[in-house]
């Protein structure tokens, strides 16, 4: 196998591992768990989970994979902190969105052509990219994987 393919496989494997761990953990949380704070005075689980769904849905746009499907999540889960009074989706809806967004995203991620991982992502100009070729789509995938791990570490404190 070529190094290029191997590296993409390693990066996607790390992403899938975190998504699966988080998905299995979230599926087992009760409605009550969703409303608990991860630590006293901190974000509630529902906020962290809605935040992850929204950010992962937005990966469709930043990676140029196609339209994102759930920008309605941004108000309550990205643009504003927890407990700001915005309407949030129900727990069962968020669990369903978790599955839907990741199934859709992962099927698109598999189709990205090897060279395309090394192209610039959508929030970056051509000029910036010439200066910093390491800020490519692959770097977005690695950053989002770390972002997910960061919040999974917090969610795990619920149990």
């Amino acid at each position: 196998m070529e190094q290029q393919q191997i590296f993409i496989q390693v990066a996607l494997h790390a992403w899938n591992m975190q998504v699966n761990r988080a998905g299995q953990f979230i599926a087992l949380l009760s409605d009550e768990d969703f409303l608990k704070e991860i630590a006293p005075g901190k974000n509630r689980a529902i906020y962290v989970i809605g935040h992850l769904v929204a950010i992962h849905d937005a990966m469709n746009t930043i990676l140029g994979l196609g339209e994102r499907a759930h920008s309605e999540l941004d108000e309550a889960f990205v643009k504003n902190p927890d407990k700001s009074g915005f309407d949030m989706q129900s727990v069962s809806m968020l669990k369903q969105l978790w599955n839907e967004v990741h199934e859709n995203l992962n099927s698109r991620l598999k189709q990205v052509k090897p060279d395309d991982w090394f192209s610039r992502h959508a929030s970056m100009s051509d000029e910036e990219f010439i200066k910093e070729p390491s800020r490519n789509k692959l770097s977005v995938l690695l950053n989002r994987t770390n972002h997910l791990a960061y919040h999974l570490g917090q969610l795990r404190l619920l149990k």
Copy 2:
């Protein structure tokens, strides 16, 4: 720049970003903060931080970079859970070890030759590696980066 160099740069950049964020955060924690639990009934900060230093020190061995320097940390911070009664290093010593271990590790990581990132890591046999070439040194780096992000998400709850 070649793709091979670019993705090694992307992976090292993600690692360094997490190490720097964690290092800056840890440097500002007081002795009292170190003894706080990250959430009620959970690990104390001192345990999580000692754990990260020990695991990162052990990356020297698993990546074949040279001898690790602080296996004395394993008893209290890796092999046993927090509050098991094993002697722990002082806060000032742990802060110093954080810096020492990462300076040493990062200078060695910079010297790894590109192709070597695609070779098997030390906990894997040649036979296993033939079957799964994506379980290479690069995958260890990505996994450790996610592991660090996971625990940094927890440490951040202290503030």
